[in-house]
């Protein structure tokens, strides 16, 4: 079994678990490309078959969401208005990533600042209670 791992880097994908292959071919894995070992699960772009979903909610491609703030042409995201900010945090209080909300980078930065301010003033929770 030692010669399996010696010639190449042990692939993080579960392909290396098959001991029957005499010379360890990397292309045995059914999921993902037979290229260099990739870290992490499916990337946000494109829909890979979720052979190894990282964690979290749905991992399939979401339909092209537009940035809500861009649509409204918002110049300022007001930290005082919790009702605007609330949809962007999880129930547990964590801020949702862009790929979940479809927000553009610039507004996500502003949004984060606003959310953190609102959290500091107890308009939004830091962490949900049990």
């Amino acid at each position: 079994m030692a010669e399996e791992h010696a010639p190449q880097n042990p692939a993080p994908v579960a392909a290396a678990s098959a001991p029957s292959a005499p010379s360890a071919p990397p292309a045995g894995a059914p999921s993902g490309p037979g290229g260099p070992p990739r870290f992490g699960g499916p990337r946000p772009q494109g829909s890979r078959p979720p052979g190894g979903p990282k964690r979290g909610k749905r991992n399939f491609v979401r339909k092209k969401k537009v940035c809500r703030f861009c649509v409204d042409k918002a110049d300022f995201i007001d930290y005082k208005r919790a009702e605007i900010l609330a949809p962007f945090i999880q129930e547990r209080g964590k801020i949702l990533p862009r790929r979940m909300t479809g927000t553009c980078a610039r507004h996500q930065r502003w949004l984060t600042v606003a959310i953190k301010r609102a959290q500091n003033i107890a308009l939004l929770p830091f962490a949900a209670e049990l």
């Binding site: 042409k73 003033i121 962490a127």
Partner: protein
Amino acid sequence: MEERQYDLIFILRPDTPEPDIDKVIATIEHAATEKGAKIEKTEKWGRKRMAYRVARLREGFYVYMVIRSSHGEVVKELERRLKVADPVIKYLTVRLDEELKRQEKLKKHRERRAARRPRKTAPAAGTPSAPAGGSEHAAATS
């Protein structure tokens, strides 16, 4: 030094009697004007449920003020007073002038760009940023 604008929010214990609330507000207002600051707005948002417990309380009485000053040290003094005031359980000062400047700049850019292009539809759509109430996001200090 150019004038700065600050948002100041503080929260008092919900069981504070009304005159005490006003006393705290008055203290802050005095302290600010003494240092040459202008109070643009004072709003009492009243009792609100807080997102987490502060000082073992679940509700608080929110007060919101907008202050303009050309002295930065005003903020320090106000916060000091808020810290020692007993009914005050939380406060937050936010400096807003840069933010508002940026907002103005963006608005102008957008208006200029919209005006430059001759639009097929009525060009009145080129000024969406006018504070026409409905847009929830564009309000700075509402």
